[in-house]
Subunit: 393 residues, 2 copies
């Protein structure tokens, strides 16, 4: 039935520890033979002979058939994953940046060497979205996949909208609680949800797009005027990644702050929670909600991948095999709210159909349509201090 896994694990941080805690409580047919860590000096809760600082103690051990990679450094993680897949070992990873950036090559390596790379823990913690896109929605016509993919910016936005905190206070609190990654820009700048979006897009639409080619604007330019604007209209601002079919052959992908009304199921996703909203032709609106981060939720997703490997599970990337291929496009108009300081900027940004203009003592804004490619081209201009752009329904 199930095959015995002998595991080598890279990293013993919050997720690794969470995973170890989970495995301890279960009688599963698996053994962790070795942990490779960076810092040999730290005191560990487990016997010293389990630890090593030499990656080859895992990669060259023929007994180890499964590599679990839980380190921060995306480049090092890629080297480990490549070597492992090439030498016949299956890999479980939670490194969203590494996977998003190298997915095409990693898919080819799996095919070439008959190995399997699973990464449910990389996207929205414990929410089984990759597995569901891969297995369950493999024949569904998906209109869009969106949601709240980043727990720390969502936590900050919840504090702002529900507890009237300022952006800075909320950010600080999120960092204290460990909800923010090492560099807050990854989260509040929308990079982290973009990596997850890239992975989702691959399983939803069979697209390989380099994250560098996808627009992300974050919540780091949000200020009290924008918050007041939203509150006056009973809206919240959420940071929303979106993958959407815009024609039979084209898909758009972007991450933008968005004004959300209480009609949306995303309105009530608060704090560090994540939610994934799948709109499909026949299944209609489907929503998956859960803890997006943390040692135990992510550990739970990683464990689910590990145990699936006992049954030789692998992603089939079925959407990539579809005859009718979809292309990534940036040619779509998006309705946005744009708060600005200097009037002259509007001469340099090609707004269409401006529906509102506001001039106040404190701030000015315009509401109108912008082409996605125009936002990408003018990103530096739009994303400077004193300016804030958000999608508006």
């Amino acid at each position: 039935m199930s095959k015995k896994l002998t595991i080598g694990m890279f990293g013993f941080g919050v997720v690794g520890q969470g995973l170890y805690d989970i495995i301890k409580t279960k009688k599963l047919n698996l053994e962790i033979k070795k942990f490779v860590i960076k810092n040999a000096g730290k005191t560990r809760s487990l016997p010293a002979e389990l630890f090593s600082t030499n990656p080859n103690d895992i990669l060259n051990d023929p007994e180890i058939n499964t590599v679990v990679e839980l380190i921060d450094d995306a480049d090092a993680a890629f080297e480990i994953t490549k070597k492992a897949l090439t030498s016949g070992k299956n890999v479980v990873s939670a490194n969203k940046k590494m996977i998003a950036t190298h997915l095409q090559e990693l898919t080819a390596l799996q095919q070439q060497h008959g190995t399997s790379l699973l990464y449910e823990g990389a996207v929205c913690g414990s929410i089984p979205i990759i597995r569901n896109l891969e297995e369950y929605y493999d024949n569904e016509l998906l209109h869009s996949v969106s949601g709240i993919f980043n727990g720390s910016s969502n936590y900050i936005l919840s504090k702002i909208f529900n507890e009237n905190q300022s952006y800075d206070t909320a950010l600080k609190k999120a960092q204290e609680l460990g909800f923010a990654e090492t560099d807050p820009t990854l989260d509040v700048g929308g990079y982290d949800p973009k990596f997850k979006l890239t992975i989702v897009a691959s399983h939803a639409y069979g697209l390989f797009v380099n994250p560098d080619q996808i627009l992300n604007l974050g919540i780091d330019r949000l200020d009290n005027t924008d918050i007041r604007y939203a509150k006056e209209k009973n809206l919240k601002i959420k940071l929303i990644p979106l993958a959407k079919e815009v024609s039979n052959s084209e898909v758009v992908l972007y991450v933008l702050p968005k004004f959300i009304s209480k009609d949306s199921i995303l309105f009530n996703v608060e704090n560090e929670n994540n939610g994934v909203l799948v709109k499909a032709a026949f299944a209609d609106e489907q929503f998956f909600y859960g803890k997006g981060a943390g040692g135990h939720p992510t550990g739970s997703a990683v464990l689910s991948d590990i145990t699936a490997l006992r049954y030789d599970y692998r992603y089939e990337y079925k959407k990539h095999l579809d005859a009718q291929e979809l292309r990534y496009t940036t040619n779509v108009d998006i309705k946005v709210y744009f708060r600005y300081t200097d009037e002259n900027i509007l001469e340099n940004i090609a707004f269409k159909n401006i529906s509102e203009r506001f001039y106040g003592e404190d701030y000015k804004y315009v509401i109108g349509h912008l082409n996605l490619q125009e936002i990408i081209d003018k990103r530096e201009l739009i994303n400077q201090p004193g300016y804030f752009l958000a999608e508006i329904a």
Copy 2:
């Protein structure tokens, strides 16, 4: 890779038609060879030679390797499913009553004959809960699975709580819209969600329990006094099936109306939508939301099962194989609100820890704890006109 499926389908109602619509739009490696229907006289949108009234035209056709069973009659569906599984055909069914009632025998038949029976469409329409319990939470310690499993009673409750309609008006409207099953008691009496709960419990906890042994009380005794009580306290009433581990070895199962506060994610599940809430030790709170019924959502789940059969997918019933077996118990105390007419009834029902008593001109109620077995034993007394019981947090 994928195997070609030749399908015989029983029934051509709203789900069958929905399914046919979906298959039409896709290039899948599958063919519907024959529909067996009850009423030969009806005009159909498809060629007449596709239809037959003789079940053997499907069951005895060696070319047909897949039976899709979408009929209402649970007994007839069971006979069809048994014959098909025994003669080497895989089966997809959406008949919750049939599956809930015969699951143990059906599981044995699959094992014995190496065939596969899939039934995602039987539980909460398009929400892939069985697949996720089976595949993704197979090693998770599940504290509980609950939610809103019945679209028509939820629709009625939404009309009552959001639009101030009376129970009777709302029920009528639900029937007009086709959200209610042929017999409304199935829905509003809590039988339909109980069948789904039975199936869920099997995949979550490895339990085979006959639905007859599980308590279900519905919303059919709800009246304006109960609604007023809930509204005064900013609560809603929802019909909630629950499977919950109460000790290391025991699980309770029941369906009861329940007062829900806005802190619960189920508070915002409105109208005909369904939601499944999974509480797990490591993944924490997970929530799945979607359309619970209707031709297309259910058709989408059935299609997903059909296409999974192309890859010889089968439920492994892993929880049933676990060494440490769980038992079904009815020995648990539940905190309830009980509205009554005749004071004497309280002498016949063994309440514990009564925390509130109310005597009014219009109605009387008591809040206290009742043992689940006591509710089962006194079901007739509790569920008579003029009385209403609901769980309270």
